[in-house]
């Protein structure tokens, strides 16, 4: 251990490669031989990763110095870089076909999610327009929530709740997508783009689609990536004005 620890700590990214590879090997084997592929190995591996993160700290497993490299492999730089690389498999014709409806699904997704979030917040005893807007924004993504909250001057515990709502959403989407994919017709590029626009959380959408059918990842990710931008645009401005109109303040 005394010899291994500094080696692990010094070569964080390499350790992350080994650890993730081993985890995927284990769960792909388990899915194939024990579950007869009923649940995709990738979905199991992601679920296991979330459980592991629970036993970590604020930064999940990366809170332990030995696994600090996981933050690099799973950080936004490599995430975005690899997502862009998946576009190599996407067809331009498919994108053009779904272009307009993809944009429409973005606006519908942000609007429905925000107002449902507000209604739930109201139902659970929040009445202040700033608080309600922050909760609704958090239901969109864990980036929209804090940006909206700080723009409106919400208190820090409300901002924490909005981040939590966004993280819960990401986890929920990751787990539930492969399970319901067939029932909602998520099996072609067009519906994947609509799905990405409606759901929004890029990491959740991409992880969920990866566990469903990796070929759909670029289409879903393409629309989802605009969701946070639109959410950040609408929530602290138009939506806040609407909420303030109804709840006073």
């Amino acid at each position: 251990m005394e010899i291994l620890e500094p080696i692990f700590a010094k070569n964080g990214l390499i350790v992350a490669f080994l650890f993730v590879g081993a985890l995927m090997l284990l769960f792909n084997w388990f899915s194939k031989n024990v579950l007869n592929n009923r649940i995709p190995g990738v979905a199991l591996a992601i679920l296991a990763a979330l459980v592991i993160a629970y036993f970590g700290g604020e930064k999940g497993i990366a809170s332990y110095p030995m696994f600090a490299g996981m933050a690099l492999l799973g950080g936004s730089m490599l995430r975005d870089f690899t997502v862009v690389a998946t576009a190599m498999g996407a067809s331009f014709e498919e994108l053009k076909k779904t272009g307009l409806i993809g944009v429409l699904s973005l606006f519908i997704g942000v609007t429905v999610t925000f107002f449902l979030g507000v209604i739930i917040g109201y139902g659970m005893g929040y009445t202040d327009p700033v608080d309600l807007t922050t909760i609704g924004a958090g239901a969109c993504t864990y980036i929209v929530g804090p940006i909206t909250g700080s723009a409106l001057g919400a208190s820090s515990d409300l901002i924490a709740i909005s981040i939590a709502a966004g993280v819960v959403k990401t986890i929920f989407v990751t787990i539930i997508t492969p399970i319901v994919a067939k029932r909602i017709g998520l099996d072609n590029p067009g519906s994947a783009m609509i799905f990405g626009g409606l759901i929004g959380t890029t990491s959740g959408v991409a992880a969920g689609l990866a566990a469903t059918d990796p070929k759909l990842v670029p289409y879903g990710a393409m629309t989802a990536t605009f969701y946070t931008g639109i959410g950040v645009l609408l929530c602290p401005s138009v939506f806040f004005l609407i909420i303030r109109f109804f709840f006073g303040g």
């Binding site: 490669f17 999940g60 997502v83 862009v84 331009f92 924490a160 998520l186 409606l198 759901i199 645009l233």
Partner: protein, 123 residues
């Protein structure tokens, strides 16, 4: 050379980030609006337009495909560094808002897909 593919990918990525950043500034947000999406669009469009005349060598493509195939491991690593404990302790409002509001959108996927298909038929 594989590095040509990786470099091309890096170029699309960085241009996309820059466009997203400028778009964010233009609408008054200190952030990146759709940078990843623009990067993907650039990759697809350049590949579509130039690819017909100057098809990319297999070896060059392999550099891009490698990073595309690293996507799932990256997502697993990302799941391992989320603050899951905080998400679960954020109280019920976070859990319910996160799940119910999202769940509703799942029902809209088939609705919009259907609408999109019928519209395609008309046109």
């Amino acid at each position: 050379m594989k590095i040509y593919g990786v470099a091309f990918l890096a170029l699309c990525f960085l241009l996309g980030q820059a466009i997203g950043r400028y778009l964010g500034m233009a609408i008054g947000i200190d952030g990146n609006v759709g940078g990843v999406g623009f990067g993907m669009l650039l990759l697809v469009i350049i590949n579509d337009r130039l690819g017909k005349k100057y098809p990319m060598l297999q070896e060059t493509k392999a550099g891009i495909y490698f990073w595309g195939s690293m996507y799932i491991p990256v997502v697993i690593a990302m799941s391992m560094i989320l603050n899951v404990k905080a998400a679960l302790s954020g109280g019920w409002v976070a859990v319910i808002a996160g799940i119910v509001a999202t769940g509703a959108c799942y029902f809209l996927v088939p609705v919009l897909s259907k609408w999109s298909k019928s519209r395609a038929k008309v046109s």
